[in-house]
Amino acid sequence: MRAFFLIAAVLGVLAAVPLVVHSNVTLNFLVAALMIALVGQGWNILGGYGGQYSFGHAAFFGTGAYVTAILQVRYGVNAWFGFAAGIAAGAALGGALGALVFRSGLRGSYFALVTLAFAEVLRIIASVAPITGAGVGTLIKLDLGIRALQFQSRAVFYWIILALVGVSLVIAQLIERSRFGAWLIAVRENEDAAKALGVDASTVKSIAMVVSAAITAAAGCFYAQYFLFVDSGIAYGTWISVEALLTPIIGGVGTVFGPLLGALAVKGMGEGAKLLTGDAPGLDLIIYGAVLVLVIWIMPRGLIGGIANARKLLMRRAVPATPTGEVRRG
């Protein structure tokens, strides 16, 4: 129960931000960070808890974005319904992909490669198919109002994405506490041993992939509504797949708050780099790459693990009577 209070407290603090801060630049930054936190939370369900490192989560993000945009533009569907359909489409794609990939027993490098390839295939198809607007992309018509899920104020969008992030935090927390979560973690730690104990590994992984895909697709739907434009390079681009894994790994892989913390840190670093050097192409990404390597090297459990370690160290220094035989963790 304490965990849910913590989630509520974090959300409460974040929700108050637009009441204090009115700068659109800051809000845009926070919206982008929260959107990436949502993408990362999706990745975290499958990659963090399930140990299946996807290198192609753009497949789900892009599908959410395109379905939301295309349903509105080409079929005149209501935006809210389009949003829901985008999430459903992402989940369906996750289910189909999971069934295909996990039934054939692909793991590790193979899983990374096949997810990467799926995202690339979707990107190429989206860049030539007429229904996606091919190379031009799809533009959603400006139509402010609740019915069209478009708002003048950045703050409303901020609260929407914050609510989505909140839902994803609760989902991660529920999974962590559930029997299903225990199965998923067992599969991550040792798939063969989990199978031997009767865990249906490929079903467990497939379900995790559906949840994971749905969350990441929701971020894609939000992207479409926020920017009102989707093209193949944005929706299915490698950058999304990279940020999807970057945020939870930097924040703390397989933890509830890891993706949120990681997203704020990653986006903060990117903005910091831009402030320091002007808008030089590539510089923020150099920092992302270097930080990714350094975090894995020095803080394998991410910022959250690092904070926990630091706290333990401080406590130990404060109470010198702690027995020295404590197990060291690698």
Binding site: G51, Y53, F55, L100, V101, S104, G105, L106, G108, S109, Y110, A112, L113, V114, L116, A117, F118, E120, V121, I124, I125, S127, V128, V242, L245, I249, A280, P281, G282, L283, L285, I286, Y288, G289, A290, L292, V293, L294, I296, W297, P300, G330
Partner: protein
Amino acid sequence: MLSPAILIPAILNGLLIGAIYALVALGLTLIYGVLHIINFAHGALLSAAMFAAFFAFRLLGLDPYVAVFLLAPAFFALGYALQRFIIGPASHGDDRNMLLVTLGIAIVIENALLYAFRADTRTIDVPYAFQTIDFGFTFLAVPRVVGFVAVFGVALVLWVIMAFTDTGRAIRAVAREKLGAQLAGIDVAHIYAVTFGLGTACVAIAACLLIPTYYVNPRVGDAFVLVAFTIVVLGGMGSVPGALVGALLIGVAESLSGLFLGESLGHIGIFLIFIVVLLVRPSGLFGART
């Protein structure tokens, strides 16, 4: 459309392109065979090597076919150092971490190139770029023929190293049974780094063979590496003959599908082969077991 006058050159050109793919794939499969990870930095290293070959020509006036004798050892050293001092220590012996670390290195290299040289596309002019050799029934471009011959030279050298030197035996021992090799006194971290260095040297050679007829920009390596992934999976991860045969098959498939379907759909063909092979027969044609 099906006249031999069009088909035969298309197939031959496919084989010649396939040979360059083979070299990129060879490095990838070598690393997979020993370290059991896909090296996501392979494409970025190829881009870096192509820039190195480009500047060796522009600034030092070195012909790429001469520069290769400098760049191959230099990139061997680079690869060795990357694995020994960054990838190995950073990943704490966990395969998933290794994947991520190579991805991180790829991001750094690619964007450092972008930062230094912008997204401009550059080419070099060598006198033999457009020369052809008359084989009687068809003409083939000189650089491609040179590339084809060189690739088989490199494959031969690698085979000799693997089969007849102590280092080669140690590499095979580590690939087969890491713990056993360690117990027999083999320095596994060193062998990992040597393997990574060999794979990186392959990339440098491929870059020197490509640069006379190809362009270079910070993302040029990606296209080759996605094809190389396909080849490695098709041939069987870790299998050297598989990489060679797979590369030639893919080269021909690409050339023919480009002829019949056009450029962008030709690429989809490669990915579909890739996904189908992964799903149906992940051990590839030459099924080295995982």
